[in-house]
């Protein structure tokens, strides 16, 4: 299985992403957008938009890259999604997916249906937070690091759709597992409905503000550093689980 970790100027979480994917025996390549535009997505099963400050995060976080994708790779991406391949956006990558209209939606929407707005604190925040996995209620510790992470859907209907279709996968919580309910710093940015990560209906596009790739190994965690893996692994197991399974089935 092959993954493409896309980058442009200002991307910077590509290496740690590669290390994580390689733990799953996925062949991960870091590819500059210039080359991607020229050579396309053929041959890849997974497309990752990693964290960073693409194009300096000027205009709005993720906006320039998001719009570039729309303008130059729209068909490619649509096909990628339609053929049930996997797209992951983490932090800046999530911002890119939202600005490109890829999330929240099932195809690509002309106008973005949400935004990741400036944190309520108006500051960049780096901290370990508690995430509640909506599928199973598990509480995980992962770090965040962003200045624009306040998820806001553009209408109530969009929020309702996300809820109804079970597209909200991670929410900010307290250590007990109780939802943060907007309370700072448990909800570090003021996201509506404590939203930390979402996916599409088909569950092959994932976007989240927290960085599971920085909590993948036990030694990266703030405590319990002796264990082999950290909480971030559970997030990747969940996201990659589907595709890894279907892939090995195809092969058999």
């Amino acid at each position: 299985m092959r993954a493409c970790i896309a980058r442009v100027g200002g991307t910077n979480c590509d290496l740690e992403m590669k290390i994580v994917l390689e733990e799953y025996k996925i062949k991960a390549e870091i590819v500059h957008m210039k080359r991607l535009i020229k050579e396309g997505l053929r041959g890849y099963d997974i497309l990752v938009f990693p964290g960073g400050f693409s194009y300096g995060d000027y205009v709005r976080a993720g906006a320039i890259w998001g719009k570039e994708i729309l303008a130059k790779m729209r068909r490619e991406i649509e096909e990628f999604i339609e053929s049930n391949k996997l797209i992951i956006g983490i932090c800046n990558g999530f911002q890119v997916l939202v600005e490109a209209g890829v999330l929240p939606d099932d195809g690509i929407s002309e106008v973005p249906k949400a935004v990741l707005a400036t944190n309520i604190s108006a500051k960049y925040e780096c901290r370990w937070i508690y995430l509640r996995v909506e599928d199973n209620g598990e509480v995980l510790r992962v770090p965040i690091g962003h200045g624009e992470g306040r998820f806001m859907p553009s209408s109530n209907e969009i929020l309702m759709d996300l809820i109804k279709n079970r597209c909200i996968i991670f929410r900010y919580a307290k250590p007990s597992g109780e939802l943060a309910n907007g309370e700072y710093p448990y909800n570090p940015n003021g996201s509506i409905y404590d939203i930390a990560g979402i996916c599409n209906k088909k569950r092959n596009i994932f976007g989240m503000m927290p960085h599971p790739e920085r909590a993948f190994f036990g030694w990266q965690m703030p405590d319990n550093r002796g264990k082999k893996y950290g909480d971030g692994k559970k997030i990747f197991d969940m996201i990659l689980g589907g595709i890894i399974e279907s892939h090995s089935m195809e092969k058999n």
Partner: protein, 87 residues
């Protein structure tokens, strides 16, 4: 032709940067009620006509400069006399 595009938060949206600025100004004892912060793009366009400039400016807002979820924008075309002053 020079256009000036202001991109600001829609009414009713919370503006953290404005809030922080307001607090800092109040701390300095200025009689401030509230502050909104917006971005102003001053763009030199290679077009001749005002109408065309406005059309292009709108397109730029839609395609990049504003996210309609939270932003609204206004466009102003500078007349020749103002150019020197503003650019």
């Amino acid at each position: 032709m020079i256009v000036r595009i202001e991109v600001r938060l829609k009414k009713g949206y919370f503006d953290p940067e404005g809030e922080v600025t307001a607090r800092a100004l109040k701390d300095l004892t200025f009689p401030v009620n509230n502050v909104k912060v917006s971005k102003l793009y001053t763009i030199d366009l290679r077009v001749e006509k005002k109408e065309e400039a406005i059309k292009i400016a709108e397109e730029m807002c839609k395609k990049l400069l504003a996210n309609p979820t939270k932003d609204e924008y206004s466009i102003e075309v500078l007349l020749n006399g103002e150019i020197n002053e503003k650019i």
